[in-house]
Symmetry: C2
């Protein structure tokens, strides 16, 4: 690489903005360097294991099971300070991160790892009807909506309104949409049959809408076909080459492959489609003049720094490598982890005056789980064995997620919950929490118990 | 007993309002009776194990660990229907419970088990400054406030403001106040020292304010003294015979035993004092003309029914037995469980035309835990052995709570988290969630890292 290390006082001040996969793994990789004084800034006080967030949304896990306080994770790194605060701007000339609530934070090297959030592109009005899944609050809100829908259906006697409560539309056929659909299929098969009295599994409709010609579009075509078959076996209707044109409280409007419009009456729509770089990522691009793509991701060079700013790394979902052919880094956890570790390695090598190679993403493969005992894998380096379906994929997925989950007690707790869910078909964390706790039934309907004539007063005392 | 069973069609329709300890144990006791058609109504879709709620508030457990969906718990009772809905009134002549969102629910026998919520008596304005601990949302809100206080203190350089962030005032020296104080003492000793860089354990002040002359006033005096000693060992300031006269955002005003007023600068005040019967309980009293006490609890007869209404039981925290001398039923979980089971037994015996005894509360004893490895017990039937302190009390407490916790997977998960907390001194579920995620620091202060002069631009590319 031709970039020279920026001159720096000793210790070298590294500021990491964002405690997701990219930021946390960068911070951990730099934690043993006495030459580095590290500051990690995040708006949240915990690292969230996002690949399992859909399990919180579907009542299999608790938020606390997949989150770990950043202070705990980095407790033993004596060179590290964690700051709970919001980075709202960058002064690249003074090398300072501007904070919403406190003075600026100086850096010699900055690692931007602020990720992305979901976006509705030109339809911000859809946000209230179709929540996305990026934060713990998103997950508990989706969980609330799914559970309220079943409760409302249980009490709704009018068939059409009841059908709308039992119809779930998932927008986006990527891993999140597919895994949510699989979990909903499982709930419809198992939970409904056991826990409710008036509604029946056969009444549930789960519709997965994808604009491309197949689900899991980043996987090879045969993996997509396998995923679709497994979804259909769970009762999920997969509609590819279908675009959402409108969403409101009770209806989703789509256009299908033939261009024909269709209306789906549904009270529960979940958004697993577009993402947009976080606002700090966009501000970094503006302050440094860096190029961005349509999703606002910052275009980085071969060493994951902004061209002209070798002291600013952008890693994880906030960055994009459009110049990269063949193996661009995908927006998944392993891409973020590798990017964060790479940035840490470059910083160390620069301090030592050593050369370093450009970033090379090493694709360990993808695994998606589809309900109980099913899933697909796409693990290139394993050759034909890397293309598993069904039980093998499911078991692999379980193992990988347990290994990468942060926090030993979380691993045990998640294992216990999964074992329990597997053995009993139950989902233990089905809590309706927040402000709207009750289903809004349009008109009062008679309760499940038919009212009888009251008996005469027989009390005596 | 002289009351005759009310005439009833077969099956006998029993409606239980409230899925807390009293309602749930009543429902479970009636679950195997084919002569009974049972309806359980609750505003929430889960049973909450309230004795462990303070552990959610202090980051040791997740809400999902101590809650279980009511539908799951009662799944196997084929005679039982669970309705998620809010009971807003009673028509005792028609024998119907009126619902906020749906038609009325008819009953032959009604079990009112709607419990109590906290109250600020004549000071509703204190609610926003001093949250109480009754619901899952209360617990996550208290958790948020405690964690935000430490985060703010870590960033606050001005000593007085910092001291106010690190001062915690607990109002009420009953079990909840004592257990919260113990958990906070543990956090100050362990978590602070390990996870933060700028604040120190010695700076934390935890003040427990109790209007009576001792903490745990329902325990024997020597148990109260032992609890106070153990609290003081954890650094808790216990102020008995002290009344709160005002609370605002940054100050608590109290009058001490000598009548002198004092001001405590504190940003975090937690309310563990007064309780008031739920609104449905008060409506039942109004509709039936039943007498109530100052806390709104319904005065019940020896069979836990409302005088003149043998078909309406009031059990748990919603009821009071002022006529009972010596052993009135205390407002704790075991009182509610026994009341619920007793009501179920009376209903069964009435259906069979058998006689039944008046309700007799059997005091199994009390256990309160005070931080790590400490606690007090008061178990009368064990004689002198029933008065334990320290480790024995703590171990007993653990065992009892694990046995009564609903749900096998919850027991394992809680055991894992406790073992982990015990071994590592860590608290894994310290998540700041909700809407206000960041501490509100009054004025921007310099960050922990002193800003240095920016280096000259050295980038080249």
């Amino acid at each position: 690489m031709s970039s020279q290390p920026p001159e720096a006082p000793s210790p070298h001040r590294v500021t990491v903005v964002g405690g997701g996969f990219a930021g946390l793994y960068a911070a951990r990789s730099l934690g043993i360097d006495p030459e580095v004084r590290l500051t990690l800034v995040d708006r949240r006080n915990f690292h969230l294991f996002q690949p399992l967030l859909y399990q919180v949304a579907t009542g299999a896990l608790s938020p606390g099971d997949i989150a770990q306080p950043l202070r705990s994770v980095l407790r033993k790194q004596r060179n590290t300070t964690v700051i709970l605060g919001e980075a709202i701007g960058l002064d690249p000339d003074r090398r300072e991160v501007l904070m919403a609530d406190g003075g600026p934070i100086a850096y010699d090297t900055l690692i931007v790892a602020t990720g992305a959030h979901h976006t509705y592109f030109d339809h911000p009005e859809w946000a209230s009807f179709a929540p996305g899944l990026k934060t713990v609050e998103d997950a508990t809100e989706i969980r609330r909506r799914i559970l309220i829908a079943f409760e409302a259906a249980e009490r709704e006697a009018e068939p059409e309104r009841r059908r709308a409560w039992m119809t779930f539309v998932l927008v986006g056929g990527g891993p999140t949409g597919v895994e949510l659909a699989g979990a909903l299929g499982e709930i419809a098969h198992d939970t409904l049959r056991r826990d409710f009295r008036a509604i029946h599994p056969g009444e549930t409709r789960i519709i997965l809408v994808e604009a491309m010609d197949r689900v899991l579009p980043t996987y090879p075509a045969d993996r997509s076909a396998s995923a679709q078959r497994q979804l259909e076996r769970l009762g999920v209707e997969v509609r590819t080459r279908t675009r959402v044109i409108d969403i409101d409280e009770s209806t989703v409007r789509v256009t299908g492959p033939d261009g024909a419009a269709d209306e789906i009456p549904s009270r529960t729509v979940l958004w697993a489609a577009g993402v947009l770089t976080s606002s700090f990522g966009r501000k970094v691009a503006a302050a440094t003049g860096a190029a961005t793509d349509r999703a606002g991701r910052v275009v980085v060079g071969p060493d994951l720094t902004i061209p002209g700013h070798p002291e600013i790394f952008v890693v994880g979902d906030a960055a994009v490598e459009p110049w990269k052919e063949g193996h661009p880094t995908p927006g998944v956890a392993q891409g973020a982890i590798q990017g964060g570790r790479y940035a840490a390695q470059v910083i160390r090598r620069r301090i030592l005056g050593r050369p370093y190679d450009p970033f090379r993403y090493s694709d360990h493969g993808d695994v998606a789980v589809i309900g109980r005992l099913s899933g697909v894998t796409n693990i290139g380096w394993l050759g034909p064995f890397g293309r598993q379906s069904g039980f093998t994929a499911w078991a692999l997925w379980l193992g990988i997620h347990l290994v990468y989950l942060i926090g030993f007690s979380n691993r045990i707790v998640v294992l216990v919950r999964w074992a329990w869910t597997f053995l009993t078909h139950g989902r233990g964390t089905r809590l309706i929490t927040g402000s709207k706790l009750l289903p809004q039934i349009e008109e009062p309907e008679p309760p499940v118990l038919a009212p009888m004539e009251p008996d005469g007063e027989t009390s005596e005392d």
